[in-house]
Amino acid sequence: MSVNHRRLITFAGNTIAIEHSDPRPAAIVDFLYRHIPGDSNIPPHTTYRIIPGDQPEKMVLYRGDTLIYEGDSEATLAELLLGDSCRRLAEKSQNGLLFHAAGLAWQGKGLFLPGGIGAGKSTLAAWLTMEGLDYLTDELVSVPHGADIMKTFTRPLNVKKTSRAALQHRFDFERHAGHISSTFHADLIPPMLLKPTNTLSEPPLSLIIFPRYLPGSNFVLRTLSGAQAGSALMQCLVNARNLPDYGFSEIVRLAQTTLACQMSYSDLDQIGGKIEELLQSSPGDLRHRRPDP
């Protein structure tokens, strides 16, 4: 089967290609990657192909020669392609620190929310976007060597179905169903649905918050020491093995120069405007704030 469209996706210094041949996969690819540019100067290390299946409604997704998906669910294909491509881009990244993290911007300042799977990054990012911050990513943030800016992989927010309850008083999932890609366990939500004026940028890294969703807990926002922040950042670094010194020196630099906090919450409404207040006062005056006991 021939393919006649090829889209390059470049992030954190490496490129993947996605090839397809008809409008259905074209719409999926545009839905997933419309905010990610492609750089033809960086050859792709991985090529995905989306081709028609043996029945009209079916599509088949390959990574190289490896079959990733065959079936009639566009949403499942989208979710698998997005997850797999993020992993491939992360594995090959070597031009800076790459973190599992959400990223948002507010009044020109970057909010960095590192966390592993299940930390609640996407749900928190969705909520903060509806609160007025600009969504940048819910998955990957790159901090180039020696720089203090956030480069983000801006994709639709990947919100687990179990998080709907926390968001549905602010976001009408049913009304937007036609613009969301939904599988059995997750919704992919374009950021513009949460905030029509959402603006993309590469802001300076102004505030680091490690979010922790703890059912039944009180809201706690605790300042971390530089060493605590460095240790927590190392846990969220995706591409350590590709970096000189495993990225340790750069992590220490970030931990020493950026205010970092740990935030525990059980209800998004507990957060109120506290993050905006912190962003308002950072960066300079709070960068050397002592940790909370």
């Binding site: 020491s225 530089g226 060493a227 605590q228 460095g230 240790s231 190392m234 495993y246 340790f248």
Partner: protein, 92 residues
Amino acid sequence: MSPSSEPKPHRKPNYRLEIIDNELLLFHPAQAQVMYCNETASLMWQLCDGQRTIQDITALLATSFPEAADTIADDVETALQQFLQHGAIEFV
């Protein structure tokens, strides 16, 4: 220093150290593993030289921090467990 035959904790080599505001980040490149040490644990790490026993270390820290003398033994125990879990020390 005690000449006893009690086991003495000894730092393993190949750790990268970063001291930030008296606290310590220990990083083992081969294992890509990082460990956070608070101020007490940071001091302990310096004292795990293979010459001092646990008792020696506890006594030294109690002298340095008389206000915390009651809890030093527990802190030492906790920090040693942490070092052992990370494979950062051995007993000689």
